[in-house]
């Protein structure tokens, strides 16, 4: 037998490979489809409920151009923007969380706790309490804060390339420092101002301006496209820096670019809605649970994030009649048990050779 004949894969072999590859993909598609359906249902409910309950039929006609003036105002002016922002913010946080956790190889490594969120928060609180800013200006401050902290961590962690663990630990140090700064500012201001700052800190989808919506949408689209371009490299990096190098990935630039994209996503979302508590943290682990592991689970994480935010906002707005609660409070309460379970299991080994 010649070399070629000996190793020519049989039709059976090819079939097995095809089946094995398909299996994972089918599961992803099914899960994604289910999530989209649930999301759509929640979206419809979000448009129906409120001080003025609008019947589903009227909702649909308003969306397609008809409907009464009152309905149009409530649905197109208030509820649709809020819904859209919630979806975008949730997706962005979900993606940011998934990318960080994949890049750093640890399900606990979320932008929520490694300094990015805290940097954005410190900048925003400073803007609110010390400079008296509000609205879009605060968003810019938050964005700037996130990027600044990420830059600082990168510079401090760099040493023949950025080791993931160094990045995380330095980020945590800066997170605590930022928190101290936030606490300081909270004590130096009027109580009411401190309260509004706290509300921002928890994350809320309050009044949505069209500028906010547009800038968030643009940021998200750009970053998602960039992420799509580099996500194959992210999959290779999951195998470790050495194997990734062997497969042709230039590890240091790839890590840098991917980190920047993830920071950008977290920053855009935080600028729009504040650091909505724990969305970035729990979306990817839930996504991975649903998919059964393997791959960074980007699309599903985005969907889970959008679902968490949209669902929580529904509860936040309507659960207690007459009381509107910031969405972050609900996401915090809902995510905390998930996180505690994650924590308790986190000493199981990740990644075997």
């Amino acid at each position: 037998m010649t070399v070629q004949q000996r190793y020519r894969p049989s039709v059976d072999d090819l079939a097995r490979v095809a089946v094995a590859r398909r299996a994972g993909r089918i599961r992803s598609l099914v899960i994604a489809a289910v999530l989209i359906v649930v999301l759509a249902a929640l979206a419809v409910v979000a448009l129906i409920l409120g001080d003025r309950v609008v019947a589903p039929g009227d909702v649909l006609s308003t969306l397609f151009g008809g409907g009464s003036g009152g309905d149009r105002f409530v649905i197109l002016g208030l509820r649709v923007p809020r819904l859209l922002l919630g979806l975008m913010v949730g997706a962005a946080f979900g993606l940011a969380g998934a990318v960080f956790q994949s890049l750093l190889g640890n399900p606990l490594a979320s932008p929520d706790i490694i300094g990015i969120s805290q940097g954005a928060s410190a900048a925003a609180v400073g803007a609110i309490l010390l400079a008296g800013w509000s609205g879009l200006a605060v968003s810019f401050a938050a964005f700037g804060g996130a990027v600044l902290v990420a830059g600082l961590i990168t510079v401090l962690a760099a040493r023949h390339g950025v080791a993931g663990s160094r990045f995380v630990l330095i980020g945590i140090a800066l997170a605590f420092l930022a928190q101290a700064a936030i606490n300081f500012m909270l004590t130096r201001s009027d109580v009411r101002d401190a309260q509004s700052a706290l509300v921002w800190l928890v994350g809320s989808l309050g009044t949505v301006t069209s500028e906010e919506l547009t800038s968030t949408a643009v940021g998200l689209v750009v970053l998602v496209l960039a992420l799509a371009l580099v996500s194959p490299r992210l999959r290779m990096l999951q195998l470790g820096d050495e194997a990734a190098t062997g497969l042709g990935v230039r590890v240091t630039p790839a890590r840098l670019v991917i980190t920047l994209i993830a920071v950008g996503l977290a920053a855009v979302a935080t600028a729009a809605a504040g650091p909505v508590v724990f969305v970035a943290f729990v979306s990817a682990p839930i996504a991975r649970r649903l998919l059964g592991g393997t791959g960074p689970a980007l699309v599903v994480s985005a969907l889970v994030g959008a679902l968490v935010v949209t669902g929580s906002d529904l509860i936040a707005q309507h659960a207690v009649s007459g009381l509107q609660v910031p969405v972050g409070i609900v996401t915090g309460i809902v995510s905390a048990p998930v996180l505690l379970v994650l924590l308790a299991r986190s000493n199981r080994s990740r990644g075997t050779a």
């Binding site: 070399v3 000996r6 190793y7 020519r8 894969p9 049989s10 072999d13 090819l14 097995r16 490979v17 095809a18 089946v19 094995a20 590859r21 299996a23 994972g24 190889g105 371009l229 194959p232 999959r235 290779m236 999951q238 195998l239 470790g240 050495e242 194997a243 190098t245 062997g246 497969l247 042709g248 990935v249 230039r250 991975r288 059964g292 592991g293 393997t294 791959g295 990740r350 990644g351 075997t352 050779a353």
Partner: protein
């Protein structure tokens, strides 16, 4: 397989200011199995890693066909040079087919996603390593030997002419060690893949190597055919070991029988 020249000239390597390899020249013979051996901390893994482009030399250069490996476009280099790192990491829950499939990354890009050629390469790699039946199994469910074969399959799916392996047998029991080494031997003989590996077992190295490189304290002490290289003097100089050299009754390669304080045959 096309032929290539992989060489190191005047190489100096180190970590954080500590120099491990000094002024080293080496040429990897094309189409042969080269094994690098030596005592702990002699620089053998360091040398291999510099060939694999994992380490930047402090001085000197590693070239593939005349081009510095660090200047070679990385995806293109990955179509010629494949690597099995010492402790590879697999994300939880990844299946064999998925992992081996990642070996096709160097040949894919924005405008070239998964093709029939990729499926064939994966199937071929699985068939060669006898892991087709494991395609849909999860990596963490496999035994050490099976896992190592799967990682080799991934490197094979890259369809490179040269394969670098850093201690591929260190954490395996003896049956699996032989299994993996036989596979590599077969790859070399049947396909002409140039194999370069670091082994810590001198006798296995002598058995499987066409070209043996013995290192000690950052320098190459001897290189050549195992029969020529392995001698009482070389073993003594490199390992500081007193030994008797006999003929391996199975493979007829040189076999080192160490003397110690209690067993010295005198």
């Amino acid at each position: 397989m096309t032929s290539h020249e992989l060489r190191a000239d005047g190489l100096a390597l180190g970590y954080d200011g500590r120099r491990v390899v000094e002024n080293l020249d080496a040429v990897i013979p094309d189409g042969r199995v080269t094994v690098i051996v030596g005592p702990n901390a002699c620089g053998k893994s360091t040398l291999l890693r510099s060939f694999a482009r994992l380490l930047r030399p402090d001085a000197g250069v590693v070239t593939l066909d005349g081009t510095d490996v660090h200047r070679y476009p990385s995806k293109q280099l990955a179509t010629v040079l494949g690597l099995l790192p010492q402790q590879p990491i697999a994300p939880d829950g990844i299946t064999v087919a998925d992992l081996v499939g990642r070996g096709r990354f160097p040949r894919q890009g924005l405008f070239r996603q998964w093709t029939a050629e990729d499926s064939e390469a994966v199937a071929e790699a699985l068939r060669s390593t006898d892991t087709v039946d494991l395609s849909d199994r999860r990596i963490d469910e496999l035994s050490g030997g099976q896992r190592q074969r799967v990682w080799i399959a991934m490197a094979l799916a890259q369809q490179t002419d040269i394969l670098l392996l850093d201690e591929p047998t260190t954490f395996l029991d003896v049956t699996h060690q032989i299994e993996v080494l036989d596979l590599l031997h077969e790859l070399n003989r049947e396909r002409g893949t140039t194999v370069v590996m670091v082994l810590h077992d001198l006798n296995l190295a002598a058995r499987y190597a066409d070209h043996l490189v013995v290192m000690s304290a950052g320098k190459i002490v001897a290189e050549g055919r195992p029969a020529d290289v392995i001698s009482i003097d070389t073993v003594g100089a490199a390992f500081g070991l007193e030994a008797v050299i006999i003929d391996d009754p199975i493979s007829h390669s040189p076999m080192v029988v160490p003397m110690g304080r209690f067993h010295h045959g005198l």
